[in-house]
């Protein structure tokens, strides 16, 4: 018990620092948010055109209403599970300030994690409730009945938290690549686009050819976004939810182990640049 208490006492200040950082750059945050929501609306209009031109009420099993919920919940999930880990770790490695983190009596990735949780808490506080309420009002206006399901909603939150942790460790692994490549900027553009596609951020995985969809469903990327969204929308049966979330936990363990492995081998090769 006292170990857990000590653990939180050690890392709580990082969360506090993360919150304060976020507050210091609120304008940045607001602009980023506006940019993201604009792209969600662009996707909305694209899909609307698709539905109008197809002439039928459903497209690959999705109604227009489903599609809108999918788009905006996808946006929300992406926003909340987004991890800066890769960028932060990579940047600190490239410019050498990783040294400053290593002279502290704390675990390297934990200090990142708790600092980022501070950031995420502020974003969640600002957009989570408005987004969910907005989506549900839309659903109510279209369907005329309350579609909100508190059970699925709570499971969605749990699934999203696991997704965040997978995202964090995945990005830390990726960020450690900076130990070997010294610079991550170029490859991170490829990574972002690829992850967005593979996780169903651009198109629901259900729209893809069944063979490809089956493979992508199993890969860790689906756990990042597709799984929580489908849970929110009530697309999964209870047994399917259990299996999907089990898969999420599996990928979390894999990513965690992988990050430890890379860290231990990277530390031996560490060459702090500059100075």
């Amino acid at each position: 018990m006292s170990r857990i208490k000590r653990f939180f006492r050690t890392y709580k200040p990082f969360t506090r620092a993360g919150v304060q950082e976020m507050v210091a750059y609120r304008a940045n945050f607001i602009c980023f948010f506006i940019g993201e929501i604009m792209s969600a609306f662009i996707m909305y209009f694209v899909w609307k055109a698709v539905f109008l031109s197809s002439g039928s009420k459903t497209f690959m099993g999705f109604t227009m209403e489903d599609m809108v919920v999918y788009l905006f919940i996808s946006f929300l999930t992406d926003y909340l599970t987004y991890s800066d880990g890769a960028f932060a770790v990579g940047e600190e490695i490239v410019e050498g300030s990783i040294a400053m983190r290593m002279i502290r009596p704390c675990s390297f990735e934990m200090s990142f994690l708790f600092q980022e949780i501070g950031n995420r808490l502020i974003s969640a506080a600002m957009i989570f409730a408005p987004m969910v309420v907005g989506v549900e009002i839309y659903r109510y206006a279209i369907a005329g009945v309350v579609r909100f399901h508190p059970g699925y909603f709570l499971i969605y939150i749990a699934s999203m938290l696991i997704a965040y942790m997978i995202s964090f460790y995945f990005n830390v692994c990726y960020g450690f690549m900076a130990f070997f490549f010294k610079n991550l900027w170029g490859t991170s553009l490829i990574k972002e686009t690829l992850v967005s596609f593979l996780s169903g951020g651009m198109i629901p995985l259900a729209f893809l050819p069944s063979g490809l969809a089956a493979v992508l469903n199993f890969l860790p990327f689906a756990s990042l976004r597709y799984t929580p969204i489908m849970i929110y929308m009530g697309m999964y049966s209870p047994s399917e939810i259990a299996w999907r979330m089990g898969l999420q936990v599996f990928w979390l363990v894999v990513m965690f182990a992988l990050s430890k492995l890379i860290w231990h081998s990277a530390v031996k090769h560490l060459s702090v640049q500059g100075g």
């Binding site: 050690t10 200040p13 990082f14 620092a17 040294a99 400053m100 002279i103 702090v272 100075g275």
Partner: protein, 338 residues
């Protein structure tokens, strides 16, 4: 006295990718990188007794920072080991760093976006400093480093001098037993340098903190350290007291004087008068100022002065002791070896 820091045969090699010039070279390096092993630190050993301030000097790229990074547990030595405060840094980093303080002059350990006071509050939690001790410590650091005037400002708005003082305070908050200062006075003005030196001195005297200091400012060394370790190209070239360094170099003095009438300088011929070579006594003139360097083993101060005064009219004169800076310059240029 017990040794706080023991470094034995430390060695660090880096792999470096060799790039040929031009676009062709860059493309080639991308697909078939040619690697070369660079030895940044080559077999360095030294010890530092508890409570000593050790000056660690050497030209740019000599490997000073690499040694500091190995001692602080950031880098893994390729060979050899170090033991500080009874611990091997690379074995148990988290516990080891609890008892050391580190300042890298060219980087900051403060949170860029936080008010300075908040940074200290964060550090207090990380190092788990009890409230009572924290209060006392802040009062002490405030006194020696004068943080009061900018403690509520965000770190990004601090001037370099303020930031450096704040960084040093941050490294001392948890009362470390060993303090590593990597160029703590880099880029600072004379007044701030003076402040920082006296703070280091005070902390060393009052708390017996062992300090390793790297610097390019030799005044730091002369004012703070009794002993220096000098490295060049990754190897140790000198380890001993500053007085030994001066002694080994020879007791050279410089007589500086201002002539009433500049051209009178040609009346002085020290080499002929004392029958010495240019190496032992050497005079030069710059306008009305003249400078004579001489070895006191060959000719006494008294003789040089009285000959000067009896030959020309002098407005003002002073005699300067050998400066460590000069010795080090010569060492860097490999004009002398110890």
């Amino acid at each position: 006295m017990e040794n706080m820091i023991i470094a034995e045969n430390l060695r660090k090699e880096f792999k470096k990718v060799i790039k040929e010039p031009g676009v062709k070279g860059a493309v080639k390096a991308l697909f078939k990188p040619k690697k070369e092993i660079v030895t940044a630190v080559d077999d360095i050993s030294f010890t530092v007794p508890k409570g000593e301030i050790l000056g660690f000097i050497g030209p740019n790229g000599a490997g000073k920072s690499t040694v500091i990074k190995m001692l602080t547990g950031i880098l893994m030595p390729t060979a050899g080991f170090c033991r500080i405060n009874g611990k091997i840094p690379q074995e148990d980093r988290k516990n080891y760093v609890r008892e050391i303080g580190v300042v890298f002059g060219q980087r900051t350990q403060l949170w860029w976006d936080l008010a300075l006071r908040e940074t200290y509050a964060v550090l207090k939690e990380i190092y788990q400093v009890p409230d009572e001790q924290y209060k006392k410590r802040m009062a002490f650091l405030n006194e020696v480093l004068e943080l009061d005037s900018f403690i509520t400002s965000p770190v990004r708005t601090l001037s370099l001098g303020q930031r450096m003082r704040a960084d040093i305070a941050a490294s001392l908050l948890h009362s470390p037993k060993v303090l590593f200062l990597d160029e703590p006075t880099i880029g600072l003005d004379v007044v701030v340098k003076e402040n920082i030196r006296s703070a280091i001195k005070k902390i060393n005297e009052e708390e017996g903190t062992t300090v390793i200091l790297t610097t390019h400012d030799l005044a730091d060394i002369e004012l703070l350290c009794e002993r220096i370790v000098m490295i060049d190209k990754g190897r140790k070239v000198f380890d001993g007291a500053i007085s030994d360094l001066k002694h080994n170099f020879g007791d050279v003095r410089t007589l500086e004087f201002e002539l009433v009438n500049g051209p009178d300088f040609k009346l002085l011929d020290y080499n002929r008068r004392f029958k010495l070579t240019q190496d032992d006594i050497h005079a030069e003139r710059d306008g009305s100022m003249a400078r004579v360097r001489f070895d006191t083993a060959k000719v006494s101060v008294e003789n040089v002065v009285s000959y000067t005064l009896s030959t020309v009219h002098v407005k003002d004169l002073n005699i300067k002791d050998v400066e460590i800076e000069e010795i080090i310059k010569k060492l860097y240029r490999r004009e002398v070896s110890l």
